[in-house]
Symmetry: C2
Subunit: 327 residues, 2 copies
């Protein structure tokens, strides 16, 4: 059987992760990477590199295009644009704009008779699936999502913009006592401050006012003001040595009640502990790329989210094998 | 909008659980319970009771029939039989016989233009889903399933059959150190004995030889011989007071690697902590009853497992609501 030919648009952490992930899938092959940069300037781990300007010339050789751009400016235009020509998968994660993104992708994917799967990854993605399943199985209950421990790129960037800061890394940390209350079925109402704390590792420029930097971080609206935040000043070498990775993860819990009068408690918990946030996200994207290809082979078109895709489509195994080995 | 009319066949722990679960679903109503016993002898929590002999007279008033019989003798014949006339959902859990059960249900459900969802619950069921998703997302890795802490009905029954035993309760207990090794990404090879231990609470008859009972339990092939087993003799009152519930649960873990040379570790963990095994299983059955009804409304027929059903079908919410609120 011929392999599913996957192409990547955008070669950053996520695109590189797709290159790695495809190697673990015997039913897939990486056709190549498309870039807005000069192709010669992009160093991959073996994948061919092409200019995105030529992508339509490759149309018949690509089964699924994995879009590895950012949610802020790339994907809102890229996903609808490329869904006209290719089956696509993206990791769009601006929660508030998902409905309009879905609508835009749905229209152009239908026009092009392609499948576009949006908002794939772990949140949105596998965490969303678990929120949905938890609420559907235990309608009388509460859902909780905790993130971390992991690096928040957005919060790290916010610190870097402060005057006197050379570099910074911010970790979102779930508060263990809050998690424990949920696990014990206590159904607590948790404020923002009670769920997560923020831990910052900051490299200050020579002569910078550290007290002022710390104060500016801790009072920054939206990013830090609503959290208990700790700030550690370290040197650049320590930051690079000890905080060079991009780990992340988190927890989705459903605490629900059943019985004649809701006297029976149940806890469903899903958690991730990821040493590399982008590599894991890429791995999810590749599994959903397989599903996009198969849905399209079945004659489907339009936009999909993880909610709309039968799990069997994610696996290279046949339905018979899955029932025999995994059910 | 009219509600989904659910009926139950078989009113034991599972059937009672369905009666409770439907009450938590505003889009569903319980049409009634069908029984092989004398209907007058079945005491429900309000549900109407009918003889199963009359069930075809109710055909047009039932949207989905939830089959609450046992996997050993009831479901292998009941599910194919009733799938001819109704959309059905069952909790068939004899793993080795799932392929033949699926084939039998598929044939008669297609003949009757109905949908039959088999092997629904948590294992098989939600645990299977997590095994599939874990392996699909992280193909380079290992899967682990641990069960417990929870009551095993089969093992409790096996103890009760021993001469001199009045009553017994057996708990399957996952071994914490093994779980921890998996969580740390060590990918251990675990023997049966290393994954679970078995804890037995036994009420002996007056004058019975306790040492002999204990020996017989610990050496029982298949059930206990391959495990570290502890036996506690207690009195009947203590058994009823402290071991009257049917709790269960467990863990599905996927430990996988990504990166250029598999140097990055990830752990996916799904766990359940259930105060009532049958009430939770019933809650899963009811969510999949909703999906069975909807699939059939879409014109589908045949057998399905949890692998074949898009998660959105489990929720009473619309696709738009789900994307907006939960993605």
């Amino acid at each position: 059987m011929s392999k599913i030919r996957v192409a990547v648009l955008g070669y950053g952490n996520l695109g590189r992760g797709v290159e790695f992930a495809v190697k673990n899938c015997p039913d897939m092959e990486l056709y190549g990477v498309f870039t807005r940069r000069q192709p010669e300037s992009v160093k991959t781990f073996g994948a061919a590199v092409f200019s995105v300007d030529d992508i339509l010339n490759h149309k018949d050789k690509i089964d699924v295009l994995v879009l590895c751009g950012g949610s802020a400016t790339d994907l809102p235009t890229q996903t609808p644009e490329f869904a006209k020509h290719f089956n696509v998968v993206d990791s769009f994660d601006t929660h508030a704009k998902i409905p309009e993104h879905f609508a835009a992708v749905d229209k152009s994917a239908r026009d092009g008779k392609n499948v576009g799967v949006i908002a794939v990854g772990w949140d949105p993605g596998l965490f969303s699936l678990n929120r949905l399943i938890g609420e559907s199985v235990l309608p009388n209950g509460n859902s909780y999502t905790f993130w971390g421990k992991g690096v928040s790129q957005g919060h790290s960037d916010a610190i870097r913009r402060i005057d006197g800061v050379l570099d910074a890394r911010q970790y979102t940390v779930p508060i263990e006592t809050a998690l424990e209350q949920v696990r014990q079925g206590k159904n607590p109402n948790l404020s923002t401050r009670e769920k997560h704390l923020r831990e910052c590792f900051v490299v200050a420029k020579d002569g910078a006012d550290k007290a002022k930097i710390e104060q500016e971080i801790k009072t920054m609206p939206n990013y830090f003001a609503d959290y208990d935040t700790t700030v550690h000043f370290i040197d650049l070498e320590t930051l690079q040595r000890e905080h060079g990775g991009i780990p992340h993860g988190g927890f989705v819990l459903r605490s629900g009640k059943t019985g004649e009068n809701g006297e029976t408690n149940h806890i469903i918990e899903f958690s991730l502990k990821l040493d590399s946030n982008p590599e894991f996200t890429s791995s999810v994207l590749v599994a959903y790329a397989r599903a996009a290809y198969r849905l399209n082979k079945q004659g489907q078109s339009g936009a999909y989210s993880v909610f709309d895709i039968a799990p069997a489509l994610l696996s290279p195994k046949s339905a018979d094998e899955l029932r025999k080995e995994m059910l």
